[in-house]
Amino acid sequence: MAAIIGTRTVKKKKISNLKKIVSRKIIPPLVAITIFLIIWQLLCLNPNFKLPGPIETISETWDPFIINPFFDNGETDKGLGWQILNSLGRVGTGFSLAAITGITLGIIIGANKLLYNAVDPIIQVLRTVPPLAWLPISLAAFQQANPSAIFVIFITSIWPILINTIVGVQQIPQDYINVARILRLKGFRYFWKIVFPATVPYIFTGLRIGIGLSWLAIVAAEMLVGGIGIGSFIWDAYNTTTETNLSEIILALVYVGLVGLLLDKLVAFIARKVVPAEQK
């Protein structure tokens, strides 16, 4: 008897949990989005308003942009899927470079007080330079569009990674350092066994900020350097005077936002898997 009663309550609990999630986490955002779209649509009813409303946007971009993200008409006339993948490729390259360099440098600088004091002012100045300000220099240096864009990603995302890694190394709990000192862990083994794992939570914070910044920067950079990519797509759409260009831009913006969100969640997900609960 008891067992049966037990399962019944468990089932009931599960159902009520699901209900809770739906009522708290799903319904309110849906309502908010609906209200947002209605306000947008209402604003666009005004004839002086040049921007398309939501219904117009979707109907104008339905074919081919929404239903066929991977069409390829040659040159830069490609589906949004291709555009985004291209941008992601650049971000991936630049961000990976930034992550490797940032973490390595960060550990070295964080472990060395003198070095930290020496380079900290430089880092503080350089990190405030807006991403696009790097573009002329990188264009001059690389003479090519693609490497320049990658460099901008690199230089934008390296600072949060570097700074967070430095802080992480500096904030290693004294306990871990004591353990290492007693066991006489030294040199590379000390970095590999203690410093790196202890810094991982900070590194991931840096990576998360870094990926967000790179995605911000890539759109702007691509607008200027051209080629295939979501940024250039927006800029090209703006420069053509077709009926549907504004709807294309709005759609691209939505995609940019969604991809940015996904990137952020992806890094957060990896962090959850890698960082042990006690260290957070």
């Binding site: 306990d175 871990y176 004591n178 353990v179 000192r181 007693i182 066991l183 006489r184 862990l185 083994r189 066994k193 203690i194 794992p197 202890a198 991982v200 042990p276 609960a277 006690e278 260290q279």
Partner: protein, 662 residues
């Protein structure tokens, strides 16, 4: 006893942000045997963890050092593994990996298979087989600490250091872990030092319990031996006859420390005083008795040491007897005074039924220069030693000998009584003791009113010179290095004039140094014999001071270089062990009840912090001597067990043990 670990005069001084210094630990001296379990007990903030870290090598002593098997500890190492209160496990590693990290690092040379088996063995030892693959975040506090202990033991440390290992655990877990730890320690004969504030834990696990006083300048207040045999069982330990006595003693000690802390919070500690700044008082009146060992005071005034340290006018007030000095200081008429070594204690304890007046001592002015003089008549009866004296007393039962002392609290009284009692003479029943001003002693001895006395110089030599008596024993034979005169001030005066106090101690310390230089002695003899001071023929002062000392016993005069000791052999630092010995002697003869709160009383009277501040400013050694007291009869005085010592003495009065409220 072979010393395994030695903590050798460790000081730890921290720089504080405002530029001052905080002396956390002062003069810690501890020897640990192989296989011994030591607990460090004290209130939080008393520096016990700092001491543990210094032993571990994680922190460095400012002065002194630690040796393990004769080698100096310079850096942390796996031979001194620490178990931390917060476990310090690496959260990204599993239980097995945490232990393996240590084992792999320490036993690099061993083959992999052997290392694996060590790891597995220790996982089993603490019973964590089921959790071997878990990370620390998945474990309870007790399990984590078991992992930490396993990790520590797996690398076979010579010394296991535990920093409040069970502090964060619930009572049940704590109990079972304590038992496990003890079993493992017994099995592997591990030497342990554990920091704790749990008295029962300390009693259950330790061979010796080292109790630290409160910071600043924390030092070892008392060491308790735990005589409970091993192996111990939790339930049986409490039935041991000494369990509750030891437990009470520990709790009493901690309570005393708490009281001291409260009072200290209201005071400005001397160590934080800055040297600069104006003195609170620059016109002082200091009392002295016309004795050879008033030399530091006279020298400080005449040679301008007082003025050098900003004390513009110092009036030296000559007293005729010690009571005058005592009442002068008690009434606040005198700012400070040269006192007999036992006087600050006696005044603080209210000896003789008087109201207790806390008087503190931060400087010993002189040592030795006491002697026991007996009449020529006794000399002709063949008396040389206390045993002989006893024989004479027995031989003439009708005659009652009278011996003179300067003051009941004088070292002379304590020494004379000790000397007599060591010979089997009860100083209150077999003879009579009379308090006589030292200036009268020779006269009365000559007149036959007394048959001898114990006094300072020049009164012993004068009797020899006038052929009235002979010196039966000097301080050098009874207790070489015994404290003689100290600088006493009222505690409230010391609190009101902290900078003046340090300046005064500094001036006198310089003067003491000057006095101990034999090249200056001729000049000093001239100074002290002036009419306003001793007013005496220099010839009476010279023997024992600069000239050979004639004892009047037919032997040729001897050169007693340390008879008047003002500076050398760590004369000046007030010493807790000596003070404690004096308290036991005063209690022995019923002058005072033995204070149950003796740690507190001595801590109050003995101002090593003021001495230390002065000595450091002068660039001198600022620690007290820690040699045990060597008395002529060879009896050992263990400063951790004064009551046991008192009870072991044969001739004594009824001893009262009371708490003294000051």
């Amino acid at each position: 006893m072979k010393t395994f670990v030695e903590v050798d005069h460790v000081d730890r001084v921290f720089d504080i942000p405002n530029g001052g210094k905080y002396i956390a630990l002062k003069n810690i001296e501890l020897k640990i045997r192989q296989g011994e379990f030591i607990s460090l007990l004290g209130h939080s903030g008393c520096g016990k963890s700092t001491l543990l870290n210094i032993i571990a090598g994680l922190d460095k002593a400012t002065v002194g050092g630690v040796t393990l098997e004769g080698r100096e500890v310079k850096e942390p190492g796996p031979d001194r593994m620490v178990v931390f209160q917060n476990y310090s496990l690496l959260p990204w590693l599993t239980v097995r990996e945490n232990i393996a990290l240590a084992v792999d690092e320490v036993f690099k040379d061993k083959p992999k298979g052997e290392r694996r088996s060590i790891v597995e063995e220790h996982i089993d030892m603490v019973g964590l087989r089921h959790a071997a693959k878990k990370r620390p975040s998945e474990l309870s506090g007790g399990m984590k600490q078991r992992v930490a202990i396993a990790r520590a033991l797996a690398i076979r440390p010579k010394l296991l250091l535990l920093d409040e290992p069970f502090g964060a655990l619930d009572a049940l877990t704590r109990g079972s872990l304590q038992e496990q730890l003890m079993k493992i320690c017994n099995q592997h004969n591990v030497t342990c030092v554990m920091v704790t504030h749990d008295v029962d834990e300390a009693l259950f696990l330790s061979d010796r319990i080292v109790m630290l006083t409160n910071g600043p300048e924390a030092h070892i207040g008392q060491i308790l031996e735990v005589p409970i045999p091993r192996p111990r069982q939790r339930l049986e330990v409490v039935n041991h006859p000494s369990y509750y006595r030891l437990r009470n003693e520990m709790i009493y000690f901690l309570n005393q420390q708490k009281l001291l802390k409260k009072r200290k919070a209201a005071q400005i500690p001397a160590s934080t005083l800055t040297v600069s700044g104006t003195l609170e008082k620059i016109h002082l009146e200091i009392g002295f008795m016309p004795l050879t060992d008033a030399a530091p005071l006279i020298v400080a005034k005449e040679k301008g040491f007082f003025a050098n340290y900003g004390l513009e006018t110092v009036i030296l007030n000559r007293a005729d007897n010690w009571t005058e000095i005592a009442t002068g200081v008690a009434a606040g008429k005198l700012d400070a005074a040269q006192m007999l070594a036992g006087m600050p204690l006696a005044l603080t304890l209210g000896a003789g039924g008087k109201t207790p007046i806390p008087v503190v001592n931060a400087l010993n002015l002189s040592r030795n220069s006491n002697a026991i003089t007996l009449s020529k008549k006794l000399y002709s009866e063949g008396v040389r030693t206390p045993e002989k004296l006893k024989a004479t007393i027995k031989a003439y039962p009708d005659r009652i000998l009278t011996l003179g002392i300067a003051h009941p609290t004088a070292m002379q009284n304590l020494i004379l009584r000790y000397w007599l009692a060591a010979g089997g003479i009860d100083p209150d029943r077999d003879i009579s003791l009379a308090v006589i001003p030292p200036t009268q002693m020779v006269k009365q001895l000559k007149a036959g009113i007394i048959d001898g006395y114990c006094a300072g110089e020049p009164w012993n030599y004068l009797a020899v010179r006038e052929n009235a008596g002979f010196v039966a024993a000097t301080a050098l034979e009874i207790w070489p290095g015994q404290p003689k005169k100290v600088l006493g001030v009222r505690e409230d005066w010391a609190q009101k004039h902290p900078k003046t106090y340090v300046a005064l101690v500094k001036a006198l310390l310089e003067a003491c140094k000057y006095c101990d230089d034999l090249r200056n002695r001729e000049e000093i003899v001239e100074l002290i014999c002036r009419p306003q001071y001793l007013d005496i023929d220099p010839a009476c002062v010279r023997p024992g001071f600069i000239a050979p000392y004639d004892r009047g016993d037919g032997m040729p005069p001897q050169n007693l270089t340390t008879y008047h000791q003002f500076y050398l052999h760590q004369t000046n630092c007030p010493n807790r062990t000596e003070l404690l010995w004096m308290v036991t002697q005063m209690a022995r003869w019923g002058l005072v009840p033995f204070p149950k709160n003796w740690v507190e009383v001595i801590e109050r009277v003995c101002r090593t912090d003021v001495f230390g501040a002065a000595a450091r400013d002068l660039g001198l050694l600022d620690i007290e001597q820690d040699d045990p007291i060597h008395l002529f009869d060879g009896k050992v005085f263990n400063p951790s067990q004064p009551i046991e010592y008192l009870q072991s003495l044969e001739i004594k009065r009824q001893i009262r043990i009371e708490e003294v409220f000051i």
